[in-house]
Each structure stands twice: as structure tokens, then as C-alpha cells.
């Protein structure tokens, strides 16, 4: 009996200790517990297997949702998926939660979203990075699903041109997390940007890690394991590359670590401005290819709440600043003025439509 009491006391003390320790950051923890007042609108989000803390596109989308909660006063629910088999039940639970708008993050959720949207025509959905196709490969519009797409090739084209102009070794590199359209589109634009620089200047800067024509290149295999990113980047650095564009979410931070270790290698970030989101590497961040998911998510929540939902795909481009090239920050002096001017003029040409960046994965 005594032992039992002791154990009970121990467990109770442990519980208390845990709760006590966790008390400090309570204000920053997820907003799900707070119920702001406002028009009765519930926005919900389901992540893919990367989770909302992936420092990449799930997180960026989630920030959009959180901003809608604070600024618009909508209620929210969110569910993190741990595996592909989680998508259907997670979306189903959101419908059961009476979500007015459910945002699903990533093409992997496409089938589950399509099925849920067809079965629940009164509910609205939005899906990031996915376009639906019918059996003949034609674009298929579903009346209650809005695709949020990003033509990141446009921005990474500028990044490729930048990299080719800045490289000292004549070799630049890129690699992906997984070979999926939303990743390879970055790599296509990057390769084309380098090629454009070569034609313009009669140079022969090489791109390691991606061949646009054959659509083959280097991939780490996931979006989790930073050590793989470090290894792949190390391989590129050994091969002579001095600028790397890692299109692999947090795995890219491994590449930044490898670049720091090498000393004279620069990184071009993706999705968000890495100078801001990964300040520990700010000295080597040449620029970042921005994919503005947060405002896109926020906007779709806002318009849907205001009754303006439509199923026309949102397409983030250089024109609407849905994609872009981040500032050069600390490495501004490493970029020659005429190169900056050239990049600006290329951007203007893409915006004006006189220059088209193509990719098999373009939305």
C-alpha cells in the first residue's frame, strides 16, 4: 500500500512538474483554444506529412490561417497528417467540424480533397500546389475547390540568372527533396535562368543536380532529413559548385550547414526569405526564391468569408507578386550592378509577357 501511495505521489508530482514547466510559453501555443468573436466562419487546414512545423510550405500556409484568425476573427481547426493514409480521415473530420472552408496543403491531398468536395458540394475547399486533371490529362475544374498555384519557375529563373552571374567557379547546383512537380518547377526555372545567362554572355556556367530536358536530377528522398541535404550539398561543393539552390524545405538547411563549413559557398533559399527565417545562415544567403503562400491562404479565407469564393485557380506569378526574388541583404555587394539591372529587366520582360519561362510542371 505504501509503495502504491509513493507511486501515486510521484506521478502526481510529475504531472505537476510537467504542467509547471510548460506554463511559460502558453501565450504562443496554438490558437485552437482561443475562440475569438466575429462572424461565424470556420477555416480549417490539413497538412501533408511534413507537418505545420516544416519551416516550409505547410508552415507558410499555416501562418496564413493564423493571420486570418487574428485579423479576421474567424475560428479555425487544423489537423496534421503523419502519413498519406491520414488525409481522408483528417479531411472527413474537418467536414464533421462544420468547416466552411477547408484548405489542404499539397498535391498529395488531391484525391482526398476531390472526393470530399464531390461528396460535400455545400462545403468550400482550397488546395495548395495542385491542379485537377481528368482522365485525358485535361484541367478539371471542381466547383467548390479553388486551387492555389505558384509559378515559381518565373522567380527561380531570375535566381538561376543571378547564380550564373555571381559564381566564381562556373558551376552552380540545385537539388530537390522529392521529385514532385512543385519541387522540380523551381529546378526547371533555375536551369533555364543559367542557360539564359550563358547565351547572353557567351559563358558556359554548368548546372549540377538537374537536367531539365530529361527531368532527372538529385533528390534527397524526403523533406525531413537535414543530414541528407548536407551530404548532397557536400558532394556538389566537392564537384566545384559555389552556389546551391536546395528545393527541399528544411532539408535545405543541411545544405546551408555544408556551405558554411566550406566557407566560400552561397545558398539561395526557397519558399520564404531565408535571411529572415534562418538568420543563423544570413551571411551566405545570396537571395531566396519566394513563394508567397501566406497571403494567398489569407486572401482565400477572406474572400470566402465575404462570400466571394470562386473555383478559378489562384496563380502566384511575378505579376501579382505571388512569387519573387528576395533582397540580396548582406551579399548585396557580391552582385554586380549591371547584373542587378539585367535581372530587373528580365523580371520586367516576364511581367510584360515578352519572356516566357516554361516548365512541364508549370500551373
Amino acid at each position: 500500500m505504501k509503495t502504491r501511495m509513493k507511486i501515486a505521489a510521484l506521478v502526481a508530482a510529475g504531472a505537476l512538474g510537467l504542467a509547471g514547466c510548460a506554463s511559460a510559453p502558453s501565450s504562443s501555443s496554438s490558437a485552437s483554444a482561443s475562440k475569438p468573436t466575429g462572424p461565424a466562419f470556420k477555416a480549417c487546414m490539413v497538412s501533408d506529412a511534413g507537418g505545420f512545423d516544416d519551416k516550409s510550405f505547410n508552415q507558410a500556409g499555416f501562418q496564413g490561417l493564423n493571420r486570418a484568425v487574428t485579423e479576421l476573427g474567424v475560428t479555425e481547426a487544423h489537423a496534421e497528417s503523419k502519413a498519406n493514409s491520414d488525409y481522408v480521415p483528417n479531411i472527413d473530420n474537418m467536414i464533421q467540424q462544420n468547416c466552411d472552408l477547408t484548405i489542404t496543403v499539397g498535391f498529395l491531398l488531391a484525391d482526398a480533397t476531390k472526393a470530399a468536395a464531390t461528396a460535400n458540394p455545400a462545403k468550400k475547399f482550397a488546395i495548395i500546389d495542385n491542379q485537377f486533371y481528368d482522365a485525358d490529362g485535361k484541367v478539371l475544374a471542381i466547383a467548390n475547390v479553388k486551387p492555389l498555384l505558384f509559378d515559381t519557375a518565373q522567380a527561380s529563373y531570375l535566381a538561376g540568372y543571378l547564380a550564373a552571374g555571381v559564381t566564381k567557379t562556373g558551376k552552380v547546383a540545385t537539388f530537390g527533396g522529392m521529385q514532385i512537380g512543385s519541387v522540380t518547377i523551381f529546378m526547371d526555372g533555375f536551369a533555364d535562368g543559367v542557360a539564359k545567362y550563358n547565351t547572353d554572355n557567351g559563358k558556359s556556367v554548368q548546372v549540377l543536380g538537374w537536367d531539365k530536358a530529361s527531368q532527372k536530377g538529385s533528390f534527397t528522398g524526403d523533406f525531413d532529413d537535414q543530414s541528407k541535404g548536407q551530404n548532397v550539398a557536400k558532394g556538389f561543393i566537392d564537384a566545384g559548385a559555389d552556389i546551391i539552390l536546395p528545393v527541399a524545405g528544411p532539408v535545405g538547411l543541411g545544405a546551408a550547414a555544408a556551405a558554411t563549413a566550406a566557407g566560400n559557398v552561397k545558398i539561395i533559399g526557397v519558399d520564404q526569405d531565408w535571411y529572415v527565417t534562418a538568420p543563423e545562415y544570413k551571411g551566405i544567403i545570396l537571395s531566396s526564391v519566394l513563394k508567397q503562400m501566406e497571403p494567398a491562404v489569407f486572401d482565400v479565407i477572406k474572400t470566402t468569408r465575404d462570400g466571394g469564393f470562386d473555383a478559378t485557380p489562384y496563380k502566384g506569378t511575378l505579376v501579382n507578386n505571388g512569387v519573387g526574388l528576395a533582397p540580396y541583404h548582406d551579399l548585396d555587394s557580391a552582385v554586380p550592378a549591371e547584373l542587378k539591372a539585367k535581372i530587373e529587366s528580365l523580371k520586367a520582360q516576364i511581367v510584360a509577357g515578352t519572356l516566357t519561362v516554361t516548365s512541364p510542371s508549370a500551373p
Binding site: T3, R4, I7, V11, G14, A15, L16, L18, A19, G20, C21, A22, S23, S26, S29, S30, S32, A33, S34, C44, A49, A77, H78, A79, E80, K82, A83, N84, S85, D86, V88, P89, N90, D92, N93, M94, Q96, Q97, F107, L108, A110, D111, Y133, A135, D136, G137, K138, M178, Q179, I180, G181, T184, Q215, G221, D224, P360, S361
Partner: protein, 414 residues
Amino acid sequence: MPGVTPDPQSARLEDPAAETVAPGRGAQLLREITTGNAMISVLAVVAALFLGAVLIGAADPKVQNAATYLFARPGDFGSALWGAVSNAYSALFQGAVYDFDAQTFARAIRPLTETMTMSVPLIFAGLGLAIGFRAGLFNIGAQGQIILGAIFGGYIGFAWHLPIGLHLLLALIGAMLGGAIWASIAGVLKARTGAHEVIVTIMLNNIALYLVAYLLSLKAFQRPGSVNPISPFIDKNAELPLLLGSGFRLHAGFLLALVAAVGVWWLMSRSTLGFTFRAVGANPHAARTAGMSVERTYIWVMGIAGALAGLGGAAQVLGTERVLTGGVAASFGFDAITVALLGRSKPLGTVLAGLLFGALRAGGFAMQARTGTPIDVVLVVQSLIVLLIAAPPLVRSIFRLPDPARAALTGARA
């Protein structure tokens, strides 16, 4: 991503094959219920759920807030904790068994069917692993075997177009073959070279993961017009039929899993082959002396285990998901290790443990969506179950159960 991988050594200590020497049947049954493994399994689950409750409380903002002024007003802390835990576990229950808030009866019982659906791959793979455990093989390769089963079954399912009935049958046989071949690699290496099955199966898991990723980068495995790594839908004729109509995901794979459990029971308790398996598991040297081929047994065990895990993959790709993706195996192969251990490597136990884990999975989604409780709590509960099963003396001391060795002398007491 890997779920739970229990320490092979400690699990081996708990190898059920080691506890087969028993006196009278009645006395044995009584002892199993009170002090034996079945009771430990149940208590491990109870203890894990309790520890999970502590974590739910710790993760809840209201509880955290109340804890800051705990000594000023302890009542707030108590009610906040109770609120958080009861909400979370009631959501877990409503997501796994019966939803009281549902508008229609179909929606109300849907959670139970979801639990059953999610238990299917766990039961299949768990049965395969259970056979291995009883034969003294610690096979951690169910993950890879599920993937191979899914690749074979899936490819036959979406690439071929055959008449109804035949197509499903061939896809299932293909999945069994895929899993069996993959597992047999480890079996043959163990038999011929003595390579340890733990190492080999873990490595094969990784190879399988990259194999499916590579295959899905090929045009033959992708949808027309798409470059994403996702296969076309499975042909209608190759789908496992839905049991309760289109409103539910429960498919015939569940029935197959139950049939497989009966088959495994018959194999292990009634057949000569199963006797050989158990004999080799209990003492390979004695089995060899008795004239059994230990090497051939290892290959057989792995082959059958792989075929069962392959069926688990088929159930996912032909039943639940209806497409092949790189993540088709989720963490089923690793969870199945826990399922087999929790089920004490017995067919009925494995089915029940599979249902429990299916319930935790299904309920976890509802818990996350309704109460914002992190889904990781479910993972922690599952991991704690492994931990507690691997340490029976710990569970016995928490619940003040008598030691089985002493109980055998003094008789059972509760």
C-alpha cells in the same frame, strides 16, 4: 516515417515462445489472466493512457495557465486538467467507436468502421510478425514487405485490365508474392549465411522505400499528364469491395484479415509446419537434433510472414487508398511490431491489438480536429505501450501484481 521500433533484445526476452512450458490448462489460464501476459498487455494500455493524459494536460494552454497560480486556487487547475483530458479522450472515443454528436446513424457508427478499416494492415502485418516471433525470428521488415505487396498488388491493379474476380485475385496473389519474396531475402540470408534478420530486414525496409519512390518517378507508374509520384486509380475490378456501401471505407480486406487470423491459428496450433516453427523458436538446437531443418524453417517463416504483410499492403492499395503512393505503408510495419507484441503473438491477441491500434489511429484524427490536442500524444501512448510491455516487472510493480514465478508456487491472487 518510422513509428515505434522496440528494442529487439528486450522483446526477445519476452518472446512468447519461451513461455510455453505449462502445467494444467485451467491453472495456466487463470495465471495468464491475473499475472500472465494478457493481463500485462491490458494494464500496459491502461498505464499508457494514463501517462498520455498527463501529456494532454501538459500541452493544454488552459491547464498551463491554471498551473501558474496552482497554489492560489488549485481548483482551477483541477477542473482545467479534467476538462482537457476528458475532452481529448472523449473525442478519441467518438472518433474511434461511436459519435454521439453525429446527425445521422450512419455518421454515428462510421468511426467504428474507420477503426476496423485502419486495423486491417496492422492485423495482416502483425500476424506475419507474430509467426516470426514464435519461431524465434525478430522480423522488423514488415514495413518493406507491405511496400512490396503494395507495389505488386497496385501495379497489377492499375496497369492490367482483367475480368471481375480474376483481377482482384491476381492482384492479391501478386501482393502476397511481392511481400514473400522481399521477406525471403532476409530468410535466405539468415539460413545460408547466418546474417542477422534484424539488420537485414531494417535495411530492406529502406531499400523498399527508395524502390517505390523510384518506381513512382517512372511514367509507367504515374498518371497520364502528371509528373507527380502518384499512381493512377486501381481498376474497378481489382478493388476490394466495400462492405457497407459508399458512405463507409470498410472493405473486404477486413474479412480477409479475420480469415488470415484463423489461418494463422490453424497453422501454428494444428499443423505440422506450425509445430516445426514453434519447436525451432523454442530451441533451434533441439529442433535440429530432432531432425527438423532449421534453415528451411527460417525461409518458410519469413515467406509466410512476408505474404501476410504483402496482403496488408494490398489491403491499403486495393481497399483503403485505391492508389499507390510512396507513403502507402505509413508506419504500419512498425506499429505492427507493437501490435504483435501486445497481442502476445497469438492470432486473437493480434486481431484485438490491431483493432486497438486502429482505434487509436482513427480516434487520434478526431482528437486533433476537435480539441486541438497534438496527434503526437497518440504516438507517445503507442510508444509507452511498447515500453511497458517490454518491462513486465514495471507494470507488475505499478499495479501491485504478484510475480508469475512466485504465483506459480503460491497460487494466483488478484
